[in-house]
């Protein structure tokens, strides 16, 4: 089974609750000064919510009241993004990805989460 096929078995829940916390723990050693909070809401059959607290380098189930940056999208789109199959432009234009806050904060998060072997 290829990497891509195995990747399809990893759910958004696995990403937020298992993979991401470990990436954050690893990154705690780094020099990144990002201390912001990020709220994520994924829609689908169920609505799932998480908050990434970069100050604590932790992921919490649920949303805090006023995260510094908030983003919401369809769970199917997030799953597609996990396997590099999401057309981000179309998803934004179509209103399937929506956010509150400064997009630069999301860019900073992307830098921290960039993971290479």
């Amino acid at each position: 089974m290829s990497v891509e096929e195995n990747a399809k078995r990893i759910t958004p829940e696995n990403y937020f609750e298992q993979v991401l916390p470990n990436i954050l723990k690893e990154k705690i050693i780094g020099t990144n000064k990002n201390n912001h909070t990020y709220g994520f809401r994924l829609f689908g059959e169920d609505t799932n919510e998480w908050t990434i607290d970069m100050g604590q380098r932790r992921v919490h189930n649920g949303l805090i009241e006023n995260p510094d940056f908030y983003i919401e999208m369809d769970g199917t789109d997030f799953s597609a993004m996990m396997i590099d199959e999401l057309d981000v432009d179309n998803a934004i234009v179509d209103g399937r990805i929506r956010w509150n806050g400064d997009l630069n904060l999301l860019g900073e998060l992307a830098e921290v989460l960039t993971y290479t072997n």
């Binding site: 990497v3 990747a7 990893i10 609750e17 996990m82 396997i83 209103g95 509150n100 290479t116």
Partner: protein, 301 residues
Amino acid sequence: MSSIKGVDGNKNLSNLEQAAKDQRDMAHDLNDAGDKVAAVAKNDLKQAGDHLVKSGQNVADAAINAAQAVGHAGVGVAAGVVTTAHVGVAAGAAAVGTVVKGAEVMAQAGSWVASNIAKGFASIANRGGEIAAEEQTVTTQEITTDPQAKSLSEKIFGFAGDQMEKAAETAKIGVEAYAKAIGHTVATAEGLVKGAAHAAAFGGNLLSAAVIGTAAGVVRLAEFDKAVTSGALLAAQAGVEGARELAILAAKGAAQTANALNKLHNDPQTDIQINLEDKQQAVQELVNQRPALQEFVPVQN
């Protein structure tokens, strides 16, 4: 079996335990060579686990169990470069019940996923800014926490502190984004009235903005939108069948008119492509499907 700290929810732990047990059972069929490699992997993974323990989280044992059970030669290779993310990914694979043929393979898959997510976020951050410069997005969070639609109205109409000022520059609301955000909000019983209330408030502010120096045709559009958004709120409060669809339709209609209004304010010569008959027909078609809405909307059957 060790516990997992730092991740909310015991469900992951129970899944991990079950998956690890299943995989240990599989180990009986593995050959001696595989077991020896797994033992090496265990030692190397334990070192990674020590790092995790120091940072208050130990998911390495789950991966070790997977490595022992599977006995895949690749694990030893992976363990030499193992990172916390790799361990987490391997554990994640076990948690979802995947038949892990090699922790390395799942680690690669997880790393690839993590890389894709980072790339996706970066892409949203880059492209979203450009697209948002043209259209305002609205989230369910904003809808549920701002029932008077003040935030959105301020962006679109220059509405501030209950006062309608001149139309805001060239602000434009993302019609599809607003309709989808309303749709997500009204999907639940709890959110139905909140979503409809936001659309009704926005419709009211739209009309207030439209009557300030705007052509009569646009005012009539705004009046109709206000009537439909208000009707959608009443239908939602009454729990009428079709209230959700009406709230989405009403929000979409109000957003379209709001954009047209702002175009006019910025360029009075703009040719507005929306007409009242189309709006009425869309509402009528919904009423035909959901007759219970009849008494809430400004159309005749």
